[in-house]
Symmetry: C2
Subunit: 325 residues, 2 copies
């Protein structure tokens, strides 16, 4: 199925076309930007119709089960749900988290639910951009709720979380390292904390610790949203109502404070910047024959006759002198 057929399929809301569009975007295959350009416009890129919720946290915190609970909740309220699950699985361990996923896949018979896993392997800095693009595709397709689930709490995950309007950080009592995790940049992105598996020992202690950190932080920003700490047991559904209530509450806060528009605007600006960088880089890299040059001169670098910095400078001089077409 090539670009034209995908666009046609998207227009008649064919889930198979959506799946193919995502593959095209994820793998950056020839023509993906044209498909995106046509699939996403005339819908304004800054539109705020869809609701995007990010769920992030350490492996084993129960994010998939929580996601499944949210899907059921929204479906019960007649809302369609698109899910992006960003898996750090690799070629070797491919499908490692599939076990977690399987229970969720059962939701797929419902046409109001679309679940898509994306691999992080090899995508490095580009993953945040791809996630934003896929989220836009899901919104353009018409999903009222878009859930973005990421495993881990590293820089990559924080970047991905940036694609959501509301970010839920999921922790568990036995994360003895939870407070360190919070310090590691997560506090800045958490709009809501979920303390899952809260029937286990240590839940109240951890909740208390998080609340102290939240209140310390609030001190420095008057009038700001105060992230609630919600105890859940995703396997039984306990606390899910409180979570969806908090999601509603944060959405209302974003809307009335004007932050929803501001967040979306910042996101579109970042995407535009990334798309332009990517396009420039691809063009210059090809036009400068950079691969050939590196292959030719790598021995000089390895043996210390030239540094990578001198090599780069030489290529740029060559480009400037008009060798590009």
């Amino acid at each position: 199925m090539e670009g034209g057929a995908i666009l046609e399929g998207l227009a008649r809301r064919d889930p198979a076309a959506l799946a193919r569009a995502i593959s095209l975007v994820e793998n950056r295959r020839e023509g993906f930007e044209q498909v995106l350009a046509r699939a996403l416009v005339p819908r304004a890129a800054g539109a705020t119709a869809g609701r995007r919720t990010g769920l992030t946290g350490p492996p084993g915190a129960g994010k998939s089960t929580l996601t499944e609970r949210l899907i059921r909740h929204y479906r019960a309220h007649g809302e369609s749900v698109g899910v992006i699950a960003v898996d750090p699985t690799s070629a070797f361990t491919g499908g490692a988290l599939l076990g977690d996923r399987i229970r969720m896949e059962s939701s797929e018979v419902d046409s109001g639910v679309f679940i898509r896993s994306m691999a992080t392997r090899g995508s490095h800095g580009g993953l945040a951009v791809t996630t934003e693009e896929v989220a836009q595709l899901l919104e353009a397709f018409g999903f009222a709720q878009v859930l973005i689930e990421t495993v881990g709490v590293g820089q990559t995950e924080l970047d991905i979380a940036g694609a959501a309007d509301t970010t839920v950080v999921v922790l568990v009592p036995e994360s003895g390292d939870a407070i360190q995790t919070l310090k590691a940049g997560v506090m800045e992105i958490a709009d809501i904390y979920v303390l899952n598996k809260s029937d286990r020992p240590g839940a109240d202690k951890l909740r208390h610790e998080i609340e102290i950190m939240v209140s310390m932080r609030r001190g420095s920003r008057a009038g700001a949203w105060e992230p609630p700490v919600i105890k859940t047991v995703a396997t039984t559904g306990e606390g899910i109502g409180e979570l969806t209530g908090a999601l509603e509450g944060h959405r209302a806060y974003l809307e009335t404070s004007g932050m929803l528009v501001a967040r979306r605007k910042r996101r579109v600006e970042a995407l535009t910047r990334a798309v332009l960088t990517r396009a420039l880089e691809r063009w210059v890299w090809e036009a400068a024959r950079a691969d050939e040059i590196i292959a030719e001169r790598l021995d000089d670098v390895l043996e210390g006759r030239q540094s990578p910095y001198e090599l780069a400078q030489a290529v740029i001089e060559q480009v400037k002198s008009g060798a590009l077409e």
Copy 2:
């Protein structure tokens, strides 16, 4: 202190000059590439004199204490040690992991030890490159051992680990999520597993699970290194001798198998590629006045009159038509 003074300081092995060189590189300040080019050449970029060990694992696993133990071990054997500690701390939580660090800082009175923390905030995809550059600086300065400590097990951390010859993955018994962590791409980079805090319950069970995963993997690659699982209690020093023995063993394996040279070669190629990309990108971004163009046209993108992809294409056409200088 500008470039010339830094180079002069490096030549007479002044630690203050090294600290300033690292700051220059870390912040990508004007002239950092010239300093690197001159500080690292004529020393061959592919040289394999220094020994680089990476330590990675979840927060709270005791990596800093292990690092401190390794420093003591190498110092007792007369080897100098340079440490790069990559902290995911942010502006807000700046210095959050300092508590961990403080015990280590006491080593700094010894001129054979140099410890440097690097922030990950905002550096995104560039962090692996910066880590490689700083590691080269430490080697060029003359440190026999270079330790690279990263907090977390996300894609960023895996990328950073690529700067080491030998990667140690540190886990603790209470990581109930340890096996999921292993599946999440870590198995491919682990040369040695350390099960720290192994006096706690669950250590033998986890060790057994890791060994099963290692042996399953080995099946697919005959003759490959089989990562050992070493139990340590870093706070008491238990198991450190076994760890340093395993580090020696892995080094010998890398040397006899030819993999040491292959790994370093791949690393130099990646660095060269990244340096060239960065230089091309910076030049084109400036020459194309990309910031101005985005500022001018962002409203069109936000309101859906133009997609980021069309905007990028228009800029490239403009560049191609000779507007660059």
